[in-house]
Amino acid sequence: MADLATREAYGIALKALGDRNKDVVVLDADLSKSTKTNVFAKAHADRFFNVGIAEQNLMGVAAGLAAAGKIPFVSTFAMFATGRAFEQIRNSICYPRLNVKIAATHAGLTVGEDGASHQSIEDIAIMRVLPNMTVIVPADATETKQVVDFAAGYDGPVYIRLGRAAVPDLFGEAYQFRLGKAIQLIDGSDVTIIACGVMAAPARHAAEKLAAQGVSARVLNMASIKPIDAAAIMDAARDTGALVTCEEHSIIGGLGSAVAEVLAENMPVPLERVGIMDTFGESGTPGELLKKYNLTEEAIVAAAKKVVGRKQA
């Protein structure tokens, strides 16, 4: 399967979901061509509503639709969904636990040339902290489709973090997403690399490089950030004794923090976090930015070696 951005996969999956489920309603805030909700809009014009550039009302309308029995999927860029409308998500959606699915695209640095104003690097943190919220970061097209279908069948708010840039196919057609369950991509015994989203593919490549250098790395894809797979994290700590997390998000509050919380309370072992080091991004191509901000397989390899060294110390 050719490389495909998770937002592209979302558009296709959402349209197919709409074919099957007449309760699905889609809202967008003037970015439907970018978020790919336009695929749904073309097929189901009567159930697509553009709210204009008004993200606060976007979330509130979704809450009202859900209160009346609909299954609203709302999309805009992650920055504006979770940033501009944070309090609407908190008070109008999460507090009453309404059945709203927020599928936010253009998360992270791979937004690229638009620059820091549009690069959401804190959305996992601020969605994860909300009671009643489920947070999922799919890594490829197959997982995205699975997550969309899962979200439609799950009763409660779900945040789905999607990207702009194309990502390689990681999972075969037989893949089945399960909430709160990590997927092991590679087994290993010296260190465990836990990744999500666009960092899953570099994590796998890093493990291959490490193997060539005599370091056996387990790789887990952790799409379900909340609830997180604490059992898989503790198994990894027990079996490998050292962990590395990698995410296209601030190292504060995201996947790395979620893993650190589980480890610190249950089984403290050395941990290194690969992520954005408490700084804003900038304009550039996605590839250039991932390199500049150390979101690469080389950075993961270096972190793995470092954490293995700490284990032996």
Partner: protein
Amino acid sequence: MGKKLSPDQLCQLAHRAKAIRCHIVSMVTEAKSGHPGGSLSAADILAVLYFAEMNVDPAKAKDADRDRFVLSKGHAAPVLYATLAEKGYLPVEELLTLRKVNSRLQGHPEMKGIPGVDMSTGSLGQGLSAANGMALAGKLDARKYRVYALLGDGELEEGQVWEAAMFAAHYKLDNLTAFVDFNGLQIDGPIAEVLSPLPIPEKWQAFGWHVLIVDGHDYNAIYDAIQQAKAIKDKPTIIVAKTIKGKGVCQMENVADWHGKAPTREECRQFLADLER
């Protein structure tokens, strides 16, 4: 004036509104905090909605075809709880648990706890958007229900209100009727002095709404405006209800300080006597 309530209905509404006002004063006193002024100003609007207009039944609280009410000015929770209790959604005695730990009666309305509360509110500016969603769902499913929302006048300072206003007009939500409780006061003083949202009717008109202006303490006027709103096609209607903050309790009327202050027990006794007169 078009449609009128019968003398019997008017008498009933006066009786209900008085009971609602007495509950408000007692609840807020017992809670030792809360928002009596803006609850009292909206009591007549809620009395007309729940006892003369809305298709709601406590026995079928989640009925898909019921009319909806969103208290966007959620701090007026006492008027909603008191009205729901009078309507039979919850025991009247439970009203005195307002704001106390383990009570269903949260300081601001919480929809999961109490049947009859159609939307959780409290953070100002958010209710009209939710009402939009409910009205839109009604259109999608070709249901006959109507959606009502009550906004504060100070609340109009929130930008989201105007996002929601654009949306409702754009999508021709004629099954949506909103009220503005135009009592002229917010916490820090007169709305015109804090950050003026005036002129109110003209703004809604410019946003594409059908605008009606009524005396928010005149049952016939409120009822007639609701009937007019139901007849308007392709437009949402806003009913700008001129009200008196603290209405019914002389010492509270038009006093901004009574926005968010509880009466003492002695004051409560005086106020209840005032209401009985």
